[in-house]
Amino acid sequence: MMNNAEGSAVVIAGLRVLRGRHLVLPDLSLHLPAGQVVGLLGPSGSGKTTLMRAIVGVQVIEGGTVTVLGHPAGSASLRREVGYVTQSPSVYGDLSVRDNIRYFGRVVGLTGAALTEAVDRTLVEVDLTRHADQLVQDLSGGQESRVSLAAALVGRPTLLVLDEPTVGLDPVLRRDLWALFRRLADAGHSLIVSSHVMDEASRCDRLVLLREGVVLADLTPDELLARTHTTDPDAAFLALVDAAQRSQEAAS
């Protein structure tokens, strides 16, 4: 695992991203702390996925810098250290659950007994041990997205970037996964988890609220509730959006 001593897992300065002709992120700056679960929240279309793609280094950017674990995003030295799970599952339907996880473990350098051990551990973590030898194409949508998550977890990357990992999962499984995210952060891993389910916000150490490519707020869950004088994250988000709109109107 790479050293997180500087305190920031991700440092973004002046990030500008165009997708098509649409300016998704006009000018975004952000520090994300290491060893924490950071929730990236916002309505769909707010730029969450684009920001995550920029952090992972798969997004072509127009300007600005993205530094991940002390290296420019997408550097070769980060390929073992950063795990990315896209919103739609990206695994092989015509392979078994176990073979999928094994292959993705293999490409990050695991071999032999260490690989077998990591695969078995990951199967338990995503609760798919019973389905290990089934083909992914025969699984339900929720199970398939857990295979996709497992494919990133198997290599135990220093930074995990998860795009809506809990969509379509039942409450028990969601609770278990958030407990796993917590354990990983306690063990020193950094996690960036996007969600548009506001009730997941309270499980994060830090929240970044995004709207139309602009950071509305970057604070802890308690600070969010205190600042907006609300008791639940949904109401807090609405209060922030209203405030942002008022100040925009006042300015124009």
Binding site: L18, R19, G20, V56, G57, V58, Q59, V60, G74, A76, R79, R80, V82, Y84, T86, S88, P89, S90, V91, Y92, G93, D94, L95, D99, Y103, F104, R106, V107, V108, G109, T111, L135, A151
Partner: protein, 244 residues
């Protein structure tokens, strides 16, 4: 580039193919059926002895072109390729992994088709039989390499399948199967000189007619090998770790 990751990728691709038994059956059986049909059609004439070997060279290329281009297109569309490119897996490992896996399939096909042509249909071969299999496997690799390249230009599976007539049929028409290449109009002869299948078919024909074909066949295979390397190199340029 890392040979262990190349092999891991090849093993993964073969494991995927193994779950699709019908595709394996089609790859092995269809060439035999068509070779049998050709032999039957021309029974009592010398035509099969002239064209049978050429057909053995054309099959592996055509079939593996389609299989590879669809397989890699699926990999691009499912997001698994983008995911792999965020890992230490090199582009070359990805390309060669596919090439190795499909060379294995090509070998299986070549062994069965050659055995069927020679022992069931009575194809006359003056040179060594094993060399026919070698040429067929190199042709399979050529098909895979062209398929990897073509898949970069396809947005849908429909397009990928349509690239078969676009990339393969012209080579098929000009490879010397219907009329000897040196009897074609000059321009077409020149064109056929820069198409890889022409050299593969030349090699197959030489093996059927000459008892000591090594020198000529070796030169033909070197040309085909050059095309394979070129196609793989161009294809790996189409794999980009970043996208818009």
């Amino acid at each position: 580039m890392n040979p262990a990751l190349t092999l891991a990728t090849a093993a993964r691709v073969l494991r995927q193919v193994r779950t699709d038994r019908r595709t394996i059956a089609l790859i092995v059986v269809v060439p035999c059926v068509l070779i049998g049909l050709l032999a039957w059609m021309f029974s009592g004439t010398p035509v099969f002895d002239r064209t049978g070997a050429a057909i053995l060279g054309i099959f592996p290329m055509t079939v593996l072109f389609v299989v590879t281009s669809v397989a890699t297109l699926r990999e691009r569309q499912s997001g698994t390729l983008e995911r792999l490119l965020t890992t230490p897996l090199g582009k070359g490992d990805f390309m060669l992994g596919y090439a190795v896996a499909f060379a294995v399939l090509g070998t299986l096909q070549a062994l069965v088709a050659t055995a069927f042509a020679v022992w069931v249909c009575g194809l006359d071969v003056a040179g060594p039989l094993w060399l026919l299999v070698v040429v067929a496997v190199v042709d399979a690799l050529l098909g895979s390499a062209l398929g990897l390249l073509a898949s970069a230009f396809a947005r849908t599976e429909f397009q990928a399948v349509q690239f078969m007539p676009a990339f393969i049929f012209p080579q098929f028409l000009l490879c010397g199967l219907f009329i000897a290449r040196d009897q074609m109009p000059d321009v077409l002869h020149w064109v056929s000189n820069v198409l890889p299948l022409s050299y593969a078919v030349d090699a197959m024909k030489t093996i059927t007619t000459e008892t000591d074909p090594y020198g000529t066949v070796g030169a033909d295979l070197a040309v085909v090998g050059g095309f394979i390397v070129l196609a793989l190199a161009l294809a790996s340029l189409t794999l980009s770790r970043r996208s818009r």
